[in-house]
């Protein structure tokens, strides 16, 4: 199955957030969408998931046009997503947070004639998912009581528990430290499957560069560059618009050094372990 954006545009009043964007995502790969703040990355995710209506163009999942469908219908067709900010049910347990992902199944079975899962079958899937995401030990803990890093993993688990073929991840590494981000990257890389496309919006370049099969760079609502991590990393226009140039980093280092050179600061004080 493939997800395709065909000449999609999105206007907010006079602001053109996305202009004539065409992209296609096949199952079996991990894709990343990157670009400056305000380039339109989240807008793309929101259009695919049905949170925003497209202004023009078509979004197709297989042969089905998604862009006139309500978002719960798009979810039922197999597009799941996470949000930039956590949207867990804090007052429910970790297990319950997974279980509610199956809530629309009555609609699904009604519309498609698929077999309805029993409570026991649902629980079995949820427990398997908890194990896959290393959350079994906290199955009965309230989601709101988990440390932030594990809340982000629960959010991730929720996107995968229904086995949706298209999974959209909006900044899964936001707020995680280096080690947690590395673990998260390894986890997402391990979720790549032949019957699933993972589409990632993320600013952590270590994660993006290490797990993506293709990277699409947006700038001012248009596709600036698309290709393998190596191609994108070395593209001068991408560096200029988004990644920052090595010259810029050198400038910051020089500035920092000139500041320290003023003296009296503790930059070279020894390490004390308490």
């Amino acid at each position: 199955m493939a997800l395709a954006l065909e000449n999609v545009s999105k206007h907010f009043g006079s602001l053109v957030a996305i202009r004539n964007l065409s992209l296609s995502f096949d199952v079996g790969s991990i894709y990343s969408i990157i670009g400056p703040n305000g380039a339109g990355k989240s807008t793309v995710v929101n259009m695919i998931a049905g949170s925003y209506a497209v202004t023009s163009g078509t979004i197709r999942l297989g042969a089905t046009a998604l862009n006139r469908l309500p978002k719960h219908r798009i979810a039922q067709l197999g597009v799941s997503r996470t949000y930039q900010n956590l949207r867990l049910f804090d007052g429910m347990t970790v297990l319950e947070n997974l279980e509610v992902c199956f809530f629309p199944q009555s609609w699904l079975t009604f519309l498609t004639g698929a077999k309805r899962l029993s409570k026991a079958e649902r629980l079995e899937i949820c427990h398997a998912c908890l194990a896959e995401f290393h959350l079994s030990d906290v199955a009965d803990v309230l989601a709101g009581d988990l440390p932030y890093g594990r809340q982000k993993i629960l959010e991730l688990a929720r996107a995968f528990v229904t086995q949706a073929p298209i999974v959209l991840l909006d900044e899964p590494a936001a707020g995680l430290n280096h080690t947690e981000t590395k673990d998260m990257a390894a986890m997402i890389a391990g979720l790549k499957r032949q019957d699933r496309a993972i589409i990632l919006v993320e600013h952590d370049m270590d994660m993006v560069m290490s797990i993506s099969d293709r990277i699409d760079v947006l700038n001012y609502g248009e596709l600036l560059c698309s290709g393998t991590p190596d191609l994108v990393r070395t593209n001068e226009r991408v560096q200029e618009a988004y990644l920052g140039t090595t010259e810029e980093l050198d400038d910051i280092r020089k500035l920092a050094q000139s500041r320290r050179a003023q003296g009296g600061l503790r930059a070279n004080a020894g390490i004390v372990r308490h």
Binding site: L176, N177, I252, A256, R259, A267, A269
Partner: protein, 233 residues
């Protein structure tokens, strides 16, 4: 400038800090690093008077500030730019700046606003835009600009690079150095520990609510154990 000694604090009965000692000297950039949930944000919140402090002392410019209400602490010259920016989404850029202005610190609103606009031309350009319409990087600049409206002598920045594009992160770090050069002392809490250590003078590592390690930023940056634990190298 700031001295924290034996700080134990939390939220109600949930204790999160079990003994924080730290010092910021005038003109310094101090960075606090550590895992999520270690107590970095709670340390800043405690200094600002936003947690329940069980014991310990906090001294700012030689004066004890523990127990003072947050607005009083800000009025003394200690500003806090919170994690996640927390700007007022439904107000304009300029209204956000006005909200951050603290009268009685010797400078008029117009005077500081001009200075903030000089530092962040994009805020001047968009001063009548709703804050919610700004991009993430612009919102972070607004959050920093708003903190500057309090004319701080010590500014605490909590995760200023959170959720920002790499290029914008570079700009934010450049701004931090510029603020320092203008005479403001800074505490920077950062997940991006490697860059934070490159621009900072002194670093504290917080682990499970305690200061576990401290040292000059150059030495922390090059310590093999700390590198493995916090810099992912």
């Amino acid at each position: 400038m700031l001295k924290v000694a034996g700080l134990k604090a939390g939220y109600g009965r949930t204790q999160v800090l079990f003994g924080i000692d730290l010092e910021v000297r005038a003109g310094e950039i101090v960075t606090i690093i550590g895992a999520n949930g270690a107590g970095k944000t709670s340390t800043l919140r405690s200094i600002s008077g936003l947690t329940q402090i069980y014991s310990g002392e906090i001294e700012f410019k030689g004066r004890p500030i523990r127990g003072l209400p947050p607005e009083e602490i800000t009025r003394l010259g200690l500003a806090h730019c919170p994690e996640g920016r927390q700007i007022l989404q439904r107000l304009t850029v300029e209204e956000n700046l006005l909200a951050g202005y603290i009268p009685g610190r010797g400078r008029s609103f117009d005077e500081i606003r001009t200075q903030v606009y000089d530092m962040f031309p994009i805020l001047k350009e968009r001063r009548h835009s709703l804050a919610s319409r700004m991009s993430g990087g612009q919102q972070q600049m607004l959050a920093i600009g708003r903190s500057l409206m309090a004319t701080p002598e010590l500014l605490m920045l909590d995760e200023p690079s959170l959720g920002l594009a790499p290029k914008i992160i570079n700009q934010i770090f450049e701004i931090i150095i510029t603020l320092s050069k203008s005479g403001i002392s800074l505490i920077v809490v950062e997940q991006n520990a490697a860059v934070a250590l490159e621009i900072a003078d002194y670093a504290y590592v917080i682990d499970a609510g305690r200061c576990s390690v401290e040292g000059g930023a150059n030495n922390v940056l090059n310590d093999p154990d700390l590198k493995a634990a916090y810099l992912g190298a």
